[in-house]
Amino acid sequence: MENSIDLLNALALISNYVLIPSLSYGSQLALGAVGVTLVFGILRFANFAHGELMAFGCMATIFFTWWFQSMGITHSFFPTALLAMPFAVLLTVLLVAVIDRSVFRFYRRNKSRPVTFVVASVGVMFMLNGLVRILVGTDEIIFRDGQKFLIKAGAFKKMTGLSEGLALKQTQVLTVVLAIIAVFLLFWFLQRTRTGKAMRAFSDNEDLALLSGINPERVVMVTWIVAASLATLAGVLYGLDKSFKPIVYFHLLLPIFASAIVGGIGQPVGAIIGGYIVAFSEITATYAFKKFITYLAPDNFAPEGLGQLLSTEYKFAVSFIILVIVLLVRPTGILRGRVL
């Protein structure tokens, strides 16, 4: 009896601190990584500005949210940001269209080397970075409203009689649900629609796509639209879940790239798997398992240290180690994407 309760406690603990956060963080990474991988598949370069694009999308959502709130449009249950997001998506798509027209299209026409695109994307990164900070400042912004918890830790304890609480934030559930919807729509689009198939064809074999009469500019534009929409969604979900801080989006770049590479560059499904792998590894490696072990170990045993593989500050190392392992073991990534 005692044992089984300990087991349940351990389970609640691990769900609360590892499983649920990994799922929602993984969804956020996955959405970002799909954007990166699509751009890579179609435009053939690693877009260093993707993190800042997420920041921009989130910022736009914040402005619309504030505007709606000031007009009294809110919902008691859902965050206002959900209503604001479609408008922010439009704005972000518009921005990306302008950027592509003014920056990237030129190099496409010139058939420049991929690395030229990367350098250009660094320029775009600088501009977006400055733009976001000029518009919204550098402070942390909490723009979530509506209900905060679906399950509160205290209520869970009372309900189950366990000593470990399990809290489920509304944003976590929203993240996972919205991610699933977005991914479902994306795959429907890529597998079933004419334009989606044309995108896959273009990513597969550019010359042959041209010979089939596929218009490259159109494919590129659609790719940017999809990538920008997903970036906004990812940025907003991350911002809702934690809080909005412009600087963190740059640092998300590494785990996002890692996700895309793990999954196989140019492979949307791979990017999603990669997102969850990276998130799960990161959170597991930096979680202190002391309490967990205490529950599961025989009575009166407690591990000496924190039982933590890496301190939280080293979460970048996790992405990097995953990158290196993929490189050594399977350079194409899980789903056999392009070899870099």
Binding site: R194, K197, N205, L208, L211, S212, G213, I214
Partner: protein, 234 residues
């Protein structure tokens, strides 16, 4: 005036000119074959006709119209179809999707054309749900030709369609190509198997170091002593 003709085509990939004053032409309902040693510029000449090359000189005419200024996609929409020598299928897509992509520019119902392709290459119907990258070399070539036919082209250009396929499959493929020709399509084909190709050709071009060496009917080229000795292995 021939249906498709390239006149005095001169150009390359940025460095030295690969083809010089090349003349290639074909009429509807006719098979024209380009032969020549490796590196002669055969593929390059095909690309020149399709507008995938910057030409210094020369013009391309289609149905009497000068199309030299058009982009490859515009030429495709004008009825030209091309099967490249390498990487001529979408390896990550199914056979059926490959065919659909071939018909990308068409807005009408494509099922009829697809059925015609399946009639021509029954294997493809069987494997329609399979990923093209997992097909055998010969099957892949069929997908490639099928994809090109999906536009209902008036000119079909094939770059070594029989590369890497067994002699039996090659004969079959040639039979199919003759069938296609009978529907009134102009066929321009680069071939490594020169003898067999010239056998079915109405017209032949022998290209050496980017220039026309011989231009004649298929029959005449086969009969020509010099051509036989230098290019057909005796």
């Amino acid at each position: 005036m021939n249906y498709l003709s390239g006149e005095y085509l001169t150009g390359g990939y940025g460095g030295a000119d690969i083809i010089r004053d090349c003349n290639i032409f074909v009429d509807k309902g006719e098979i024209a074959v380009v032969v020549g040693p490796n590196g002669a510029g055969k593929s390059t000449a095909m690309k020149a006709l399709l507008g995938m090359l910057n030409l210094h000189k020369g013009h391309v005419f289609l149905d009497g119209q000068d199309i030299s200024g058009m982009s490859p996609q515009q030429r495709v929409s004008q009825g030209m179809a091309f099967v490249p020598q390498n990487q001529n299928v979408f390896v990550t897509m199914t056979v059926q999707e490959n065919l659909e992509m071939g018909a990308y520019l068409r807005r009408d119902n494509i099922t009829e054309t697809m059925n015609q392709v399946f009639e021509l290459f029954p294997v493809l119907k069987e494997k329609r749900k399979q990923i093209a990258g997992e097909l055998s070399g010969g099957q892949r070539q069929q997908v490639a030709v099928g994809r090109a036919l999906m536009t209902r082209p008036s000119v079909l250009m094939l770059d070594e369609p029989t590369a890497g396929v067994s002699p039996i499959v090659m004969d079959e493929l040639f039979d199919r190509i003759i069938e296609v020709k009978r529907t009134g399509i102009a066929i321009l084909m680069v071939e490594q198997n020169a003898r067999q190709a010239l056998n079915i050709a109405d017209r032949g071009f022998v290209l050496v170091t980017g220039e026309n060496r011989f231009t004649d009917t298929g029959e005449a080229l086969l009969a020509n002593e010099e051509v036989r000795k230098s290019f057909l292995g005796g």
